[in-house]
């Protein structure tokens, strides 16, 4: 694998459409176990799991106004950034129920931001055929194109959400839709998802909606566990506003009337590839997770009186090596965004300024180190240091927190 990977890399290094290179980057990486509850429990048809993470952060990249804007990209959805002081990073309860031979139901109720309870998932699944593992799921769901989109602060090494997802996917993609998945060979999953578009970067209704396809491959052999994945997403937006700070949703941020009046009509197409590799021997385990996302934005940016055509070409990637020894885990994460925008039209410079599309003079990036100590089953202590250059001024901060996750039912699991 290694040799072909690097030969592709060297040939393709500086071309646009780096999908192939990105796919090749499906490198060894550590699985950040997401699912606390396996829906395949043998004995009980019902399983309930929960998790919570709370941290104290000594600083934040969020501006004094309370608005978080990564210079160079239109933001939205739930990308609110991590606030200074004590915050509830995430809390959620998941319920999985095998309702019959072929039917399953999943509910996930949680909060990503202090105080706001949301129905993250409410889906019904049906196994259509056993042979190919053909199954359909529908309802409100988190997109499955990447495992990172499913991660919760209590189940990943870092309390801060992934910058790539905050910048390109409004934090994470949760929407109403349907999904078809097949497993043609063991370990390989192929999925297609169709969305109503009620979540950034898409909009619902006329000319809105989103779709994605993904291919995941999992493989385990002795000490090794490998997960590779690649996806493409197409999102269409009409009259999209950044609703993060409006409509009783202020999240402590000032509403900025000029920014709130902006609308975007157009498409965001993205392709990504990622990998997680884990290796374990005795008390030691090590891993690496990485992902590369290429985004094309094309459309019109406007407010009540002005408009300009926007074409954005963005790349984002993150790399996350990890080392564990018994109860301790040390993880490093580097995240970087390269954001190119071109605006055509008399209002381009003004709209770019209002929308926060002007480049900050450096590419947004973030270094973070997390140290976790497992106090007892499910319960852990986390210390983090972050050098966050996602906005114009770099900010360094420490964070300390606790996280817990576990099964509530069947008890004792």
């Amino acid at each position: 694998m290694t040799t072909p990977v690097f030969s592709i890399l060297s040939k393709r290094r500086c071309r646009r459409g780096r999908l192939v290179a990105a796919m090749a980057l499906a490198l060894p990486a550590v699985a950040t176990a997401h699912g606390i509850v396996s829906s395949e429990r043998e004995d009980s048809p019902l399983s309930v799991g929960a998790g919570v993470s709370a941290s104290h952060r000594w600083d934040s990249v969020i501006a004094d106004s309370g608005r978080w804007q990564v210079p160079g990209v239109l933001m939205g959805g739930e990308a609110l950034g991590s606030e200074q002081g004590f915050t509830l990073d995430a809390a959620s309860v998941q319920l999985d129920w095998r309702a019959g031979e072929r039917t399953h139901v999943r509910l996930d109720i949680g909060s990503h931001h202090a105080g706001e309870i949301e129905l993250e998932e409410a889906l019904v699944g049906y196994r259509l055929a056993d042979s190919l593992g053909l199954q359909i799921e529908a309802g409100r769901m988190k997109a499955r194109f990447s495992t990172e989109n499913l991660s919760h602060a209590y189940a990943r090494p870092f309390s801060d959400n992934n910058l790539v997802y905050d910048a390109f996917y409004g934090g994470h993609v949760v929407d109403e839709g349907a999904r078809l998945m097949v497993t043609p060979w063991a370990g390989i999953t192929l999925g297609v998802e169709g969305w109503r578009g009620s979540q950034f970067p898409a909009t619902a209704g006329d000319d809105g909606g989103a779709r994605d396809v993904f291919l995941h491959w999992r493989w385990q052999d002795g000490a090794w566990q490998v997960e590779l994945g690649t996806w493409a997403q197409w999102a269409e937006a009409r009259d999209r506003s950044d609703s993060r700070y409006t409509g009783g949703h202020s999240h402590g941020g000032d509403s900025d009337t000029a920014a709130d009046a902006l609308r975007f009509d157009g498409d965001q197409d993205s392709q990504g590839a990622g990998a997680r590799l884990a290796w374990q021997r005795g008390d030691w385990s090590a891993g690496l997770a990485a992902e590369f996302v290429q985004v094309d934005v094309s459309g019109t940016l406007r407010d009540t009186t002005r408009q300009a055509a926007l074409s954005g070409d963005y790349r984002g990637w993150w790399l996350q090596p990890e080392l564990r020894w018994r109860r301790q885990a040390l993880t490093l994460r580097y995240t970087k965004l390269v954001l190119d925008n071109h605006l055509t039209g008399v209002a381009g410079p003004d709209l770019a300024a209002v929308a926060g599309l002007n480049h900050a003079g450096h590419d947004p990036d973030q270094w973070a180190v997390s140290y976790r100590y497992q106090l007892q089953d499910g319960l852990g202590l986390r210390l983090e240091w972050t050098r966050n250059r996602a906005t114009a001024e770099p900010v360094n901060y420490l964070a300390a927190g606790l996280y817990w996750s576990g099964a509530l039912w069947p008890a004792g699991n």
Binding site: V5, L27, L288, R302, P321, K336, A347, P349, L351, A352
Partner: protein, 398 residues
Amino acid sequence: MRRCIRRHRRPWLNMVLAACGLLALAGCGGEGETTFDDQGATATAFDWRLPAGTPLPLEPLDNPMTEAKFQLGRHLFYDRRLSGNGTQACADCHLQAQGFSDGLVTPTGSTGEVHPRNAQPLLNVAYHATLTWANPSLLTLEQQILVPLFGETPVEQGINDDNLETVLTRLRDEPVYPPLFEAAFPGRGSVIDMAAVVKALASFVRGMVSFDSAFDRHERGDLQALDASARRGRALFFSEQLECFHCHGGYHLSDSTLDRTMSFIERPFHNTGLFNIGGRGDYPEDNQGLFEITGDPSDMGKFRAPTLRNIALTAPYMHDGSMADLAEVIEFYAAGGRQIAVGPEAGDGRQNPFKDSFVNGFELRQQDQEDLIAFLNSLTDFSFIADPRFSNPWEATP
């Protein structure tokens, strides 16, 4: 795949190599950037002296801005000889120290006729989508300036067919003018005619731009530029409770805004409930706003929302100058309209059927009112009213 990994006895080496590959990949493409094709929006021969990020106003194709026209216009603006009887200049109703308004309820023209409307402040006029208090057809300064020069209802500067030649002769006899006209309109010789006068006056008024109030500095990021009270007032002004910003918002502090960056032009007018004569929504006969032009009954009492820049300098307020100070204006908005108990104008403006739904009334505590006034005071650009660029040139060269 399986074979490849097995061959690598050292998993770490594998990962490090992979990591390097990823870094190499990410390194290419270099720094991101934001680029523009503004399609000529910043092209101008004039030094507008605008702060970075402020859009340029439109310049008419047949009267592009030049410094020479601006300077000629400035001389004409302050010249009383530019009136029928030689007694009134633009500057007599538009005084720099008062933000180019005149402090009167309504002004009087050169022949003694009283204007029904309050003299408007002149600053950033170039950014208004229509000109004067309520005229949707006055779109350029070149059109508007004909009104004070030649208008008959009322007579302002009182130039007419009979005295036109006399007025032009006065200008031609002034030795300062020929070189100024020559510089402003090169290639025409030093022809002094009304077409050139109007273009030059329009250039001067168009060039009267102001973006240096404490509020502007605050919006540009100097958070200390507003004190705590003005900051609270700013929040009130931009709140859905008071609604002011819907009509007085944006960098121009008016919803009637036009600049080069705009693709969709709005020319709004609003009835704020100042009158409701006879309960029919009527305004006094000489001052009925947009209705006077369109004849559409629903346009009764609709006026352009003025910019609130320099508002502290330009009392009294409203199209008829009927409000003496800002406290009175705020009480009027808090009540959601004006109630007039007695006299020919009696009526409850709060019930005016044509009143804009954003003028709804609200509760204000004493402190809130002080804060809102502190914010309105922060809209004054002191450097603009002291700027020698806009001052009387004849005083420098008597």
